[in-house]
C-alpha cells in the first residue's frame, strides 16, 4: 500500500515536474518564437531600409555617373574644340575630328555627314559604320524629309527625349538603340548633321550627351565656316595674285618691247644725227663763205636768206647735239666724270653764264644753298647742263623784273641734296606737267610760239639726273611760277646711264 502510494506520489510529482518542464519549455519556445518573430521583423525592416538605401544609392550613382559623363564630355569637347579651331584647312578639321572623337568620346557609332557642292550629304567622319550601312542611312534620310526639315530648323533629337515615332525612325535609319542626332548649322543654314549612338543599354545616352553633341556640332559649324571663309579669301587672294602676276608679266614684256624700241630709236637718232651733222657742217660752211662775199658780191636779199640758212643750221646743229647727248647718255656711251664739287660754285657758274639774259629782263637772282650742304660728287659739266636748262627755261618764261631762285637743302638721313629752281613765270598747266620731260614736248604757250626750242632740254636734264641716281619733278601754278626739283646723292654710286625707257610722267610732289 505504502509502496503503491509512494509510487503514485512520485508519479504525480514526476508528472507535475514534467508538466512544469513542458510548460516552462513551451514558455521559452513562445519566447523564442517571439524573439524569432521580432528578429524576422527586424530583418524585414532592415531589408526595407536596405531597399531604400539601394534606391537612394542608385539615384546618387546615376547622378554621379551623369556628372562624370558631363565632365568627361566637356573635357572631350574642350580637346576637340581646341584641335579643330587651330586649323583653317577643312580636310584637316575632319581628320582631327575623326581622331579626337574616337579617342575622347565613348560611342559605338559616330557619323558626321556634310553637304557637298552638289547639295548631297557625304560622310566625313565615320566610326562604326560599314559603307553599305552609310548608304542605308543616306537613303533613309532622303526618304525622311521631315527629319531633315526639323534638323534644318535646329531641332536636336535623342533617344532620351525624342517623341516615340521620331525616335523609332532615327533608330531605324542609324541602326542604334541609343542616340543623339544634332544639326550642324551656320549662318547659311544646315551644312551637315552629327550622330552618336550606342547599342547597349549599359551605355545608354543621357541628356548630358545631348548637350555635349549640340555644343560640339556648333563648334564644328563655326570651325568649318571659318575654314570656308578663309578658303574663299585665300582663293580670291590667289586669283588676285595670279592676275597681278599676269599683268606684271604683260607690263614687263611691254617694257622690254618699249626698251627695245627706245634703243632702236636712240640708235637710229644717233646714226641719223651723225649722218646729218656732216652735210650740215658743209651747208653751214658754204653759207658762211657765201655771206663773207669772198666768192663774189651777193645781193642783200640773198644775204638775208643765207643768214637764215646759217641761223637755222645752228639750230639744227644744237638739236642734233642734244639728241646725240640724250642718245649717248641712254646708251651709256657717256662716261660721267665723278669728282668732288661745291654745288654753290656750280650754280654760280651757271648764273655767270646766263647773267646777260637775266640783265636784259632785269630778273632778280637768288641763290640759297644751305650752309650744311656738303661738297658733292658729280660730273660738273653735266650738272651745269641741268642748271643751264632749268635756269635757261626760267629766264625764258619769267617776265621782266621777275625772280629766279635756286635753293638747295641737305637730307642728312638719305644723304642727298634736293635742289629747287623756281621762277615767277607764267607757270605750266597741270595737264602738261606729266608730259614735260618727254622728248620734243613743248608746252603750247605764246612764249614757246615765239621762241624756238628743241623740246629736248628737260628730257636731257632728266637723263643726267637719273644717271646720277637722282630724281627730277616739277610743281607749278599757272601765272604764279614753276619750280623744278631734283635730287643728287652726296656720294653716288658710280654714275651710270639710265636704262633706255620711254618718257615718264613727272612726279608731282
Amino acid at each position: 500500500m505504502s509502496i503503491s502510494l509512494i509510487f503514485n506520489i512520485l508519479a504525480f510529482i514526476v508528472i507535475c515536474v514534467l508538466i512544469f518542464i513542458i510548460l516552462s519549455k513551451n514558455s521559452r519556445l513562445n519566447q523564442t518564437r517571439g524573439s524569432l518573430l521580432k528578429l524576422k521583423k527586424s530583418f524585414n525592416e532592415l531589408d526595407e531600409q536596405a531597399k531604400l538605401i539601394v534606391k537612394t544609392d542608385l539615384e546618387l550613382n546615376k547622378a554621379q555617373e551623369e556628372s562624370d559623363k558631363r565632365l568627361g564630355g566637356l573635357e572631350a569637347l574642350h580637346k576637340t574644340s581646341r584641335l579643330i579651331s587651330t586649323t583653317l584647312d577643312e580636310n584637316e578639321i575632319f581628320h582631327r575630328l575623326n581622331e579626337s572623337l574616337q579617342t575622347n568620346l565613348d560611342f559605338d557609332k559616330m557619323l558626321i555627314l556634310f553637304y557637298d557642292e552638289r547639295k548631297q550629304l557625304k560622310p566625313r567622319v565615320n566610326v562604326g559604320y560599314a559603307p553599305e550601312g552609310i548608304e542605308y542611312i543616306l537613303n533613309g534620310l532622303k526618304k525622311d524629309s521631315s527629319l531633315l526639315e526639323a534638323l534644318t530648323q535646329g531641332h536636336i533629337f535623342s533617344s532620351v527625349a525624342a517623341a516615340t515615332q521620331r525616335k523609332k525612325a532615327i533608330q531605324n535609319i542609324f541602326g542604334s538603340e541609343h542616340f543623339v542626332l544634332s544639326p550642324i548649322l551656320t549662318q547659311n543654314g544646315l551644312i551637315g548633321i552629327a550622330f552618336v549612338g550606342n547599342q547597349s543599354s549599359a551605355a545608354a545616352v543621357t541628356e548630358g550627351d545631348e548637350e555635349i553633341l549640340s555644343i560640339l556640332a556648333n563648334q564644328i559649324g563655326q570651325s568649318l565656316e571659318n575654314a570656308r571663309l578663309f578658303e574663299q579669301v585665300y582663293r580670291s587672294s590667289r586669283a588676285l595674285e595670279s592676275k597681278v602676276q599676269d599683268r606684271t608679266k604683260q607690263l614687263e614684256d611691254a617694257l622690254a618691247e618699249v626698251k627695245k624700241i627706245s634703243k632702236t630709236k636712240s640708235d637710229f637718232i644717233s646714226a641719223v644725227s651723225h649722218e646729218l651733222r656732216t652735210p650740215l657742217t658743209s651747208i653751214k660752211g658754204y653759207a658762211a663763205i657765201l655771206i663773207t662775199g669772198k666768192l663774189g658780191e651777193i645781193p642783200e636779199k640773198v644775204k638775208e636768206r643765207l643768214e637764215k640758212i646759217n641761223l637755222h643750221s645752228d639750230n639744227l646743229v644744237n638739236l642734233i647735239n642734244e639728241l646725240l647727248d640724250i642718245s649717248r647718255i641712254e646708251s651709256g656711251r657717256v662716261e660721267m666724270k665723278m669728282t668732288e664739287h661745291d654745288l654753290r660754285q656750280t650754280a654760280e657758274n651757271v648764273h655767270d653764264l646766263l647773267t646777260p639774259q637775266m640783265k636784259n629782263k632785269n630778273i632778280n637772282w637768288e641763290l640759297n644753298v644751305d650752309k650744311n650742304v656738303p661738297n658733292m660728287i658729280y660730273d660738273s659739266s653735266q650738272v651745269e647742263r641741268i642748271f643751264i636748262n632749268l635756269v635757261g627755261n626760267a629766264v625764258k618764261f619769267t617776265p621782266e623784273n621777275g625772280t629766279i631762285s635756286v635753293k638747295a637743302t641737305w637730307d642728312k638721313e638719305k644723304d642727298l641734296v634736293e635742289i629747287g629752281v623756281s621762277d615767277t613765270g607764267i607757270g605750266i598747266p597741270e595737264d602738261d606737267l606729266g608730259k614735260l620731260f618727254s622728248e620734243f614736248f613743248r608746252v603750247d604757250n605764246k612764249i614757246n610760239q615765239n621762241v624756238k626750242g628743241t623740246g629736248l632740254g628737260l628730257a636731257l636734264a632728266k637723263k643726267i639726273v637719273e644717271a646720277h641716281h637722282g630724281e627730277i619733278w616739277v610743281t607749278s601754278t599757272v601765272n604764279q611760277g614753276t619750280t623744278f626739283h631734283f635730287t643728287l646723292p652726296v656720294k653716288p654710286k658710280k654714275a651710270e646711264a639710265p636704262a633706255a625707257q620711254p618718257a615718264q610722267p613727272s612726279k608731282n610732289k
Partner: protein, 395 residues
C-alpha cells in the same frame, strides 16, 4: 644580373602607329636590351591582328601575351582608349607562356588544364612563383577554367587571372598570344626564377539587407533564393519586373549591387555579377555558385573601393616580406572603373602610397578577376571574383 622594366603607351587612333609609338617608348627606355616578356593591353578600339603582328615584328623573339580591356592602368593615368605595353628584360626572372583556343561551354575545364600544361611546358624546370592568365570575358563560367588550371598547378598555387573585355558593351574582346590575336581563348604566363611576388585581392563591398539562402543552384546559375525564383531578389530591391530589369538596368544593377556569397567561417564574401536573367527568373553569374550558400545584395562606394585598394596593396606589400617591389601589376574589375568614374586614378594613388611614388604600375580593367582568396582552410586559394582589385607586386 639585372631586371629592366619599361612601360609604353599611345592613344593614336591608327593601330599600327599606336603600337609602334608605345613600342618606341619601351625601346628608348630599354636601349638595346631585348625584352624577355611583353605584356600588351589594348582597348577594343584597336585591331588585335595588327597589334599582335606589330609586336611580333617589333620585339622578335620576346614572349608576348595580352588582351583587350575596358581601360589600361598606368602610374599616373588611366586610358580608356589606347594601347599599353609592359616589357621586362631580366636574367633573374624566367617566363613561360601558353594559350588555348576554341573554348566552348563543354570544354572549359579541360581548356584550363591545357592552358596550364602549355604554360608549364614553355616555362621549363624553374622555380614557379605566380601564374597570370587572361580568359575571354564572354566565357560563361570562368571558374571552371580556373579549376582546370588548378588541376595542373595545384589548388594553392598563386593564380592571378582576368577576363578580357570591351568597353562595357559585352560584345567582343580578344586575347593576344605571340603573333596571334585570339577570341574565345585564354592565354597566360608563369613567372619564376630569382624573384618573389606578393599578391592580394580586395573588393570593398559590404552586405546589405537580410541574409538569404541559395536554395537551388547549378554551376554558375542561381535558380532559387529562399525558395523563390532568384530574380525576385533584385525585383524586390529595384521594384521592377525582371524582364524590365534585364532590358534596362541589368548592367548598372550588376555593377553596383552584386551578389555576395558568404564563405563559411570567413569574414569574406565572394562577389558575383549577374550577367543575365533567364526567362524562368534564374540569375546567371560569371562564376560558380555553391548550392545552400548564404547570399546578400552587396553595396559599395568610392571610399570603400579606395580603402580596399589600399588594403590589397598593403597585403601584397607585406607578402613580399620586406623586399622592395620593382613592378606592380593590377587586375581590376571594369565595374570599379564604372563606379569610380573620373576618380578611378585615386585607387592607383592609394597603391602608390604603399609601394612608393616611383613604382611602375601597369594594369587593366577586367570582366572577372581571379586571385588567391582567404578560404576556410586559411590557405590562400584562388577564386574567381567580380568587382575586385588584385594587386600583384613583383620583386
Amino acid at each position: 644580373m639585372a631586371t629592366h622594366i619599361a612601360i609604353g603607351s599611345s592613344q593614336t587612333v591608327d593601330t599600327l602607329t599606336a603600337t609602334k609609338e608605345a613600342a618606341q617608348k619601351i625601346k628608348s627606355s630599354l636601349q638595346s636590351t631585348k625584352p624577355d616578356l611583353v605584356l600588351i593591353f589594348s582597348t577594343i578600339h584597336h585591331d588585335p591582328d595588327t597589334i599582335a603582328q606589330a609586336i611580333d615584328n617589333l620585339f622578335p623573339g620576346s614572349k608576348a601575351i595580352g588582351c583587350s580591356s575596358a581601360g589600361i592602368i598606368f602610374s599616373e593615368k588611366i586610358m580608356t582608349n589606347g594601347i599599353g605595353i609592359l616589357a621586362i628584360a631580366s636574367d633573374e626572372m624566367k617566363f613561360g607562356i601558353g594559350a588555348v583556343s576554341d573554348i566552348t561551354p563543354t570544354n572549359i575545364r579541360m581548356a584550363g588544364s591545357d592552358l596550364a600544361k602549355n604554360i608549364v611546358a614553355d616555362f621549363g624546370q624553374h622555380g614557379r612563383h605566380v601564374c597570370l592568365f587572361f580568359i575571354d570575358g564572354e566565357i560563361a563560367d570562368s571558374s571552371l577554367l580556373l579549376k582546370g588550371v588548378q588541376e595542373v598547378l595545384g589548388n594553392v598555387f598563386p593564380l592571378v587571372g582576368a577576363g578580357s573585355c570591351d568597353d562595357f558593351h559585352f560584345k567582343k574582346n580578344f586575347q593576344i598570344f605571340g603573333s596571334q590575336a585570339l577570341e574565345m581563348s585564354a592565354c597566360g604566363l608563369i613567372m619564376g626564377g630569382q624573384m618573389s611576388v606578393g599578391v592580394s585581392g580586395r573588393h570593398g563591398w559590404r552586405p546589405l539587407g537580410k541574409p538569404r539562402v541559395i536554395t537551388q543552384a547549378e554551376g554558375n546559375i542561381i535558380k532559387t533564393i529562399d525558395g523563390k525564383k532568384a530574380s525576385h531578389l533584385y525585383e524586390e530591391y529595384f521594384d521592377e519586373a525582371y524582364q524590365d530589369l534585364r532590358a534596362t538596368q541589368l548592367g548598372q544593377m550588376s555593377i553596383l549591387y552584386p551578389l555576395g556569397i558568404f564563405i563559411e567561417e570567413s569574414n569574406h564574401f565572394l562577389l558575383r555579377n549577374a550577367i543575365d536573367i533567364l526567362e524562368d527568373g534564374s540569375i546567371v553569374c560569371q562564376g560558380g555558385v555553391p548550392d545552400g550558400s548564404e547570399v546578400h545584395i552587396m553595396i559599395g562606394n568610392k571610399d570603400s573601393c579606395k580603402e580596399a585598394a589600399s588594403e590589397a596593396a598593403q597585403e601584397a606589400h607585406n607578402n613580399l616580406l620586406g623586399k622592395k617591389a620593382k613592378l606592380v601589376i593590377i587586375i581590376e574589375s571594369m565595374s570599379r572603373l564604372k563606379l569610380l568614374g573620373r576618380g578611378a586614378i585615386l585607387e592607383i594613388a592609394k597603391i602608390r602610397e604603399i609601394f612608393g611614388q616611383d613604382i611602375p604600375v601597369f594594369g587593366m580593367y577586367a570582366h572577372g578577376e581571379i586571385c588567391p582568396f582567404e578560404s576556410v582552410e586559411r590557405i590562400k586559394k584562388p577564386y574567381l571574383q567580380n568587382e575586385s582589385m588584385v594587386v600583384l607586386a613583383v620583386n
